[in-house]
């Protein structure tokens, strides 16, 4: 069953931010690049347990990621969201990281989906304004997901996030390309949901091996 999605637009920090939202529970703000705000099967599944707000970041410009991060923080506040979980897909991960650095008290946990905020060796991207050196100070629990078939954000890139972020957990999603939530929605939602509920404790299995009592 798919969730009922409302859509709208927020003016914040000089940007028009389009969003869709559905579900109730803790808020999950999910940032996507322009053109990526369509509802994926994974968003429907996540909306069963979370208030999911999918925001499309303007692509033209391109605006500085720090400014976009401030705008998203304002937009969330104007939607009545004070503390939230934050996801960043692809290059929107850079904005998500900036937002977590700017407002560590508001971002409970970060989910980076096939993120493209770092190079393979952890070196800054061209035009980086000091993001990389600040990452070592980011204590926010972070889950970074990579598809094993992704060529844009290859799974080897996970190492760079583990090395740079003090509280980052890398999970590889088998047989997935760049759009992990579209390629493997059940596998994606299962680990994201577990991480958002339990944070670091998600590494401990809750499954019982008992066959019959």
């Amino acid at each position: 069953m798919s969730a009922a999605w409302d859509s709208g637009q927020v003016e914040a920090g000089g940007f028009h931010l389009r969003y869709r939202q559905a579900g109730t529970g803790e808020s999950l703000v999910s940032l996507r690049q322009a053109g990526g705000a369509g509802v994926a099967a994974a968003d429907d599944l996540l909306a069963e347990r979370h208030r999911v707000i999918v925001m499309a970041l303007p692509g033209a410009g391109p605006p500085a990621p720090q400014d976009l991060a401030r705008a998203v923080a304002q937009a969330a506040a104007s939607l009545g969201v004070k503390r939230f979980n934050l996801a960043g897909h692809g290059s929107a991960a850079e904005v998500a990281l900036w937002l977590a650095l700017q407002h560590p008290e508001r971002v409970q946990a970060l989910v980076l989906v096939a993120p493209m905020a770092l190079h393979t060796e952890g070196a800054p991207l061209p035009g980086d304004d000091g993001l990389v050196e600040r990452l070592s100070g980011l204590a926010t629990p972070t889950l970074a997901l990579f598809g094993t078939r992704d060529r844009e954000a290859p799974p080897e890139l996970g190492r760079a996030y583990r090395e740079r972020l003090p509280n980052c957990h890398v999970v590889l999603v088998y047989n997935s390309d760049h759009a992990i939530d579209a390629d493997r929605p059940e596998a994606f939602v299962s680990v994201v949901d577990d991480f958002l509920q339990r944070r670091e404790r998600f590494i401990v299995s809750r499954h019982s091996a008992l066959r019959y009592p």
């Binding site: 890398v170 999970v171 680990v191």
Partner: protein, 259 residues
């Protein structure tokens, strides 16, 4: 760990497992190929990732994988897998892995090796003889006659039947799950029970004097382009087996290097 203890000499043989094993462990054989392919990718990733990682697979799910010690061989030890079925030959060719042929016959393995090479060529590489392994049982005696007599009188040529080899209904139950792929009849022919003479003729069993066994090894090298022969010796009396190993080591193996 073995790679570290052996100074980087591990060669990994990754096998899907026989249908008997799936029955024994209560695992559905219909999913065996997909499970194998995922498991192989996961193992290679575990060998090569320097940082801990989780895995959201189709059949496997782990939150934090981190192996220690890391393999000595970089990026990882060489991998062989069974190349007997067309599906596996294609997978090995795509992944640039070596193939092994076991519990088969030389004519069946020759076809499978040809398919593997064709697929590798399509994938842009050419396997060398070191990518192709053939496994057989060998028994060497001073003469051909002696070798045959030893085997026939000891029952050493007998194979233990599997749960399904003498029960057609059980064999059908396994085959019906889709364990075998698109050439099921051929795959099932591999495990068919055969008489000693036929096994020798088909290259399943290398039997005879050192010259005869060398000629059989040469045929395998030629027909399959196999650069690696893996041999085991049958369970005969201790002195017979030791003699067979000695003859193989002194009169067959040194001459095999020149094939």
């Amino acid at each position: 760990m073995l790679d570290v203890m052996s100074g980087g000499r591990v060669v990994a043989g990754m096998l899907r497992g026989t249908s008997n094993e799936y029955v024994t462990y209560g695992v559905n054989p219909a999913e065996s190929r997909q499970r194998f392919e995922e498991a192989l990718e996961l193992i290679v990733r575990a060998w090569t990732e320097p940082q801990p990682f989780g895995w959201q697979g189709r059949f496997y799910e782990y939150r934090a994988i981190s192996i220690w010690p890391r393999p000595v061989q970089q990026p990882h030890p060489p991998i062989f897998m069974s190349g007997s079925s067309p599906e596996q030959g294609e997978f090995a060719a795509r992944r640039r892995l070596g193939v092994g042929f076991a519990v088969t016959t030389v004519p069946l393995a020759r076809e499978a090796a040809r398919h593997y090479r064709e697929q590798a060529h399509l994938a842009g590489w050419e396997p060398t003889p070191d990518h192709v392994l053939y496994r057989a049982t060998a028994y060497v005696a001073d003469t051909d006659q002696q070798a045959l007599e030893d085997l026939e009188s000891s029952g050493g040529a007998d194979r233990r039947p599997s749960h399904s080899s003498n029960n057609k209904a059980l064999a059908e139950a396994v085959a019906g799950t889709g364990y075998y792929g698109r050439d099921a009849a051929r795959q099932r022919a591999r495990v068919q029970v055969r008489e000693l003479r036929e096994r020798i003729e088909l290259g399943q069993f290398l039997v005879g004097s050192p010259d005869t066994v060398l000629a059989q090894a040469a045929a395998i090298r030629r027909e399959l382009g196999a650069g690696i022969l893996e041999v085991s010796f049958p369970p005969l009396a201790r002195d017979k087996v030791l003699r067979a190993i000695e003859l193989f080591g002194t009169n067959v193996l040194p001459r095999m290097r020149e094939l």
